[in-house]
Symmetry: C2
Subunit: 268 residues, 2 copies
Amino acid sequence: MTRFDPYRVGRKFRLADIDPADTPCLKGSGEAQREQLDQLAKELDGLQNLLHAEGKRKVLLVLQGMDTSGKDGTVRWVFSRTSPLGVRVAAFKAPSAEELAHDFLWRCHAVVPRTGELAVWNRSHYEDVLVPVVEGWIDKAEARRRYAQINDFERLLAETGTVVVKCMLHISLGEQRERLQARIDEPDKQWKFSRDDLVVRKKWGLYQRAYEKALAETSTAHAPWFVIPADSKLHRNLMIARLLVKTLRDMKPRAPAPDPTLKGLIVE
Amino acid sequence: MTRFDPYRVGRKFRLADIDPADTPCLKGSGEAQREQLDQLAKELDGLQNLLHAEGKRKVLLVLQGMDTSGKDGTVRWVFSRTSPLGVRVAAFKAPSAEELAHDFLWRCHAVVPRTGELAVWNRSHYEDVLVPVVEGWIDKAEARRRYAQINDFERLLAETGTVVVKCMLHISLGEQRERLQARIDEPDKQWKFSRDDLVVRKKWGLYQRAYEKALAETSTAHAPWFVIPADSKLHRNLMIARLLVKTLRDMKPRAPAPDPTLKGLIVE
């Protein structure tokens, strides 16, 4: 039993059971928490570096969440100490005509991490079992097919050396209101605002249901989902940083053993 | 006249005129220098963020240099404070069969920065006017054609909104010996060592000449080359960080103006 278990999605999962205002990973003063985050970010850098030196395995972090749930902020703060050499971010937007002309996993497969890399997906293939479900573009049978296709795809990744961790950034309707209002009111943030966000916000309940279903159907032993209480930004960052550090520690990455035939070699 | 001008490559450029042990950007104690680098890295993050908010222009930093010249280290330290959201690193290795089946600029064009991004190329299309020249795989006429093709390609990038900065990390033969020896002798570094590096090292003079020629032929107003004295790692990092910060400051990136029609909008 780890502290993450209550937030790991099982088959009988109800999203409403998890309070977005929870803070299981917050301890100590604000100052102490920021210091913890910085230490975790540094440890993550060291572990990623070993993963690169080892050159055999990969890590994929999938970030999903409603607008303003903090996907960009997570990338900024959890990876604040990591060299961009080993962390590759892919942001998935509404699919282009070219992408729509392919199966929905095509654009994702193209950017899976290579050996030694940690990839972060800001949105992902899960958009294709959220938006079409909410909008009614696909029926239940097609949604079921897609969940299965996703599970197969992620099993392929796991079986070929990728550790997959998926986080849903869980915020409340009220918290989203405040964050959207801030984007409207604060000139520095206005470039992040889109009127479409207000349209999507009106479908909040439908999205929560689509998330609940998708997470329950695709949280597997080889690619589990975690729901991250994310009304507190600092808590969200700390919980994801801890989860990633734990994941990498458990992988025990190590540099290759020294080559005995190099012993005594002198560079001229 | 800026402090970078003496290191900017012009037509009558001789690589031997630049001392790899120079430290024009080092001032103060080691502690003060590390503090400067950290401040520059933070400023770079802020500027990159504005570039992203603006969403119109791009930056491409090309890093070239002999083995152990510090390309990876530059990425690690200059971008130590930058969110991986806006910085994308591409490392070019010996071309694959698929890459060789295309023109030499194909794989590079595929990873140019998108709007708001800062791309860093760890090696680049310049490998194709260095290795083949040294190995005698192409004649002078073909090399000239490639310099011209490179200049045309980089003009396209510049004319379509990309600011291109190219840095050659200039180390001495003696400094390389020490760094290679350290990779052999220190178990933690051995995974970075390749026996091929010793083969390439034997062709040092040929590579210096190939660099000199390539830099002189492709240092243009729209995509200048800078030679970075790089025997000191801290100096190398500081000089490149300063150059990039100056480049971004000169671009004056700014977030879009507030949208007056959003004034007073209340989120429900």
